[in-house]
């Protein structure tokens, strides 16, 4: 079994020599983003339950993985996400209003209401459009990192995927290309123990993901995914390595999907509450809070302030999103091609005429 890297123990204890060189400000930024992600997820699920948005994919429990792994990235780097990366999207600079517009699929959504909630995209944030098919994003992350290498740029692509995704052929093709061509790509597998109802133990014949890197000739590391500093540390090393020509790394972040797979899922059908309870005690936010407290840079007052600010930010975005209308029906026909071909033009005209009439 590949060694599990950990910096902060569940009770918040740590050894100074293990700590990554992060300033107080940086640590608090991490904490704020973890709290913000949690606030978004809590509200997102509620909005869905209230029927105000159609669907939601919570990332609760996986905040440390998202924030820890994307924290070392620079603006010129790229993120190639799966559908459970809202924390990384926020940290990357997609504004909360943009996130909310996407969830509502309203006229302010830069993607014009074309995808389900949680399928974020932003060119400015170098956040590649999220896709639903599991695994297809992984070769794309390789292409970005490989292109950087070919062009001689110190730019990195970070690709996220789940434990379930490791079973897909595209994972294999991607890892093999990356290893052979030494792409500037870092693979972050969020092993949250479940692929919908399938436990990791029924996903593959190995009991870890990291070992799979051996099949491609590069390093696989395993890290406690509920320890944001451990994730940060491993990711920072892998990102630096990739940036300066050292090739890819596979990071397995061992974590847990605390909520349902999506708002459509009922996990009580297939997993024990006891297991969830066990992991709830390992909540990555609580762990980090304990660490910050231990270091003396956390107090109750601050906690209230951070929480309130996070909630306010989400609330403001909700209010704004609910004021916005839907994208105009005419936008349905845009962006299939750079220029609209006749058959789409003709359909658009007929369609708008029909809408007017009816």
């Amino acid at each position: 079994m590949t060694k599990l890297l950990r910096v902060v123990s569940p009770d918040g204890k740590y050894k100074e020599k293990d700590e990554p060189p992060l300033s107080e400000e940086e640590l608090l930024k991490m904490y704020r983003y973890m709290m913000l992600t949690r606030a978004l997820d809590t509200r997102g699920m509620a909005l869905q339950r209230q029927g105000r948005i159609g669907f939601y994919v919570p990332s609760s429990g996986e905040e440390a993985v998202q924030i820890g792994s994307s924290f070392p990235l620079e603006p010129r780097d790229w993120i190639v996400p799966a559908y459970r990366e809202q924390g990384a999207a926020l940290l990357r600079g997609i504004p909360m209003a943009g996130i909310m517009a996407q969830l509502y699929g309203n006229e302010e959504d830069t993607a014009k209401g074309r995808q389900m909630p949680n399928h974020f995209t932003s060119r400015a944030a170098h956040f590649v459009p999220t896709s639903s098919p599991v695994g297809t994003q992984i070769p794309i992350a390789v292409g970005l990192g490989w292109a950087a290498r070919i062009r001689g740029d110190n730019v990195v692509a970070l690709g996220y995927f789940g434990d379930g995704a490791t079973s897909q052929g595209d994972f294999h093709a991607a890892m093999n290309f990356a290893g052979l061509f030494q792409a500037n790509t870092v693979f972050v597998c969020k092993n949250n123990q479940w692929a919908i109802s399938v436990p990791f133990g029924n996903q593959t014949g190995t009991n870890e993901v990291a070992i799979k890197a051996q099949a491609y000739g590069f390093e696989g590391v395993r890290v406690d995914g509920n320890d944001v500093l451990a994730v940060y540390q491993a990711s920072k090393e892998a990102i630096d390595k990739a940036r300066f020509g050292g090739g890819p790394t596979l990071i397995e972040a061992v974590t847990y999907r605390m909520g349902p797979h999506t708002s459509s899922d009922d996990p009580t059908r297939y997993r024990d509450e006891a297991e969830v309870e066990k992991w709830r005690k390992k909540d990555p936010i609580v762990r980090f809070q304990r660490y910050l407290k231990e270091k003396g840079i956390w107090n109750e007052e601050m906690e209230v302030e951070i929480r309130q600010e996070a909630e306010a930010q989400v609330e403001e975005a909700v209010v704004r999103a609910e004021k916005r209308g839907l994208p105009s029906p005419a936008t349905l026909f845009d962006d299939v091609y750079a220029e609209m071909p006749w058959h789409i033009k003709e359909a658009k005209e007929a369609f708008l005429e029909y809408l007017e009439k009816s």
Binding site: G54, F55, G105, N106, K112, G113, R114, Q115, M116, H119, S131, S132, P133, V134, G135, G164, A165, S167, Q168, G169, D170, A195, I196, S197, V198, N202, Q203, T204, S264, D265, R269, Y270, L326, P327, P329, L332, F333, V336, H343, I344, A347, F351, Y354, L355, K357, S358
Partner: protein, 324 residues
């Protein structure tokens, strides 16, 4: 006779066939303990155990590839693809392998598998939980493609598909999974593949459709009736092989045709119907053949209702061909 919706009809067909024939085996993602994300396999894991209702890893090519091998061994695999939109990792296994084994072995290696998959729009699933890409499969010789539009047909057609000696893609219109119930027989009962069904007789305009579009078509037909246009609605039920007689009979009677499908219009299944009619029935045609279909764009989220054909758009086309 019990009343069932489509989900229950699927479940009932699977249950009975697995009881009848121990070679029938299910495999797919989340079909076991979870009973399938739409609950089509609910209770079957408990009934038949993990060797006959298998939760697989997340790899569609593994699911279909293994099913082919199982079929050669003598089993009758009924793999589930969670959404049709996710079938593409298995596309090679389906079009290059499953579809061609009988032919390339000179008949020695039939490939009896039935791939079940929910498909189509109407559940606010956006790009990847909504598409109707039956064209890819209907254009592939060696595959049969079956799409029911109601619970009774679902059970009868699914049983025929599982027993059919050829690979069948059985597409379930997820939007109407729970839309309504009707009486569905328990026990032995099949509906032959390749037979369309006239769901509403009419004299002026023929409407050809399948799946979730049938209820939109009958809705339009009712509205048309009010303005004095008599529509015949034909549910194709099996896309391959097509029931050509049902199509031609109707067109010879009406001379006017509207074809309805959710898929992207360009090269959607209706293109073939129109092409066949342009070849075989041109003398019967009294008006242009109109197709009411999905837009030639990827599937949207917010405005999926505008993307999908509905009774209004169908009626519009009916009026156009009628008044031509």
């Amino acid at each position: 006779m019990p009343e069932m919706n489509i989900v229950q009809a699927v479940n009932s067909a699977l249950l009975e066939e697995m009881q009848r024939d121990d070679r029938v085996i299910l495999l797919g993602e989340d079909i076991g303990k979870n009973g399938g994300v739409f609950r089509c396999t609910e209770g079957l894991f408990e009934e038949f155990g993990p060797d006959r209702v298998i939760d697989t890893p997340l790899a569609e090519s593994g699911i279909i590839g293994a099913s082919i091998g199982m079929a050669f061994y003598g089993l009758r695999p009924v793999p589930e693809i969670q959404f049709l939109d996710f079938i593409y990792p298995a596309f090679d296994q389906i079009v290059s392998e499953a579809a061609k084994f009988r032919y390339r072995s000179g008949g020695e290696y039939p490939c009896q598998i039935t791939i079940r998959s929910p498909y189509g729009g109407g559940i606010k699933g956006g790009h990847y939980h909504s598409q109707s890409t039956e064209t890819y499969f209907a254009h592939t010789p060696g595959l049969k493609v079956v799409i029911p539009s109601a619970p009774y047909d679902t059970k009868g057609l699914l049983l025929s598909s599982i027993r059919d000696p050829d690979p069948v893609l059985f597409l379930e219109p997820k939007r109407i999974y729970r839309a309504g119930r009707e009486e569905v027989p328990e026990g032995e009962f099949t509906i032959p593949l390749g037979e369309a069904k006239v769901v509403r007789e009419g004299a002026d305009v023929s409407i050809f459709a399948y799946g979730a579009m049938i209820s939109q078509c009958t809705g339009a037909a009712e509205q048309a009736e009010e303005v004095g246009i008599s529509c015949e609605v034909v549910d194709l039920r099996t896309l391959v092989p097509l029931d050509i007689d049902a199509v031609l009979d109707s067109v010879r009677k009406t001379g006017r045709v509207v074809i309805v499908y959710e898929a992207t219009k360009f090269l959607g299944y209706g293109a073939e119907i129109a092409a066949i009619l342009a070849e075989k029935a041109i003398e019967s045609l009294e008006a242009p053949i109109l197709r009411v279909a999905g837009l030639d764009t990827p599937f949207p989220y917010t405005h999926e209702n505008l993307y999908l054909p509905d009774a209004g758009r169908i009626l519009d086309a009916v009026e156009k061909v009628y008044s031509f």
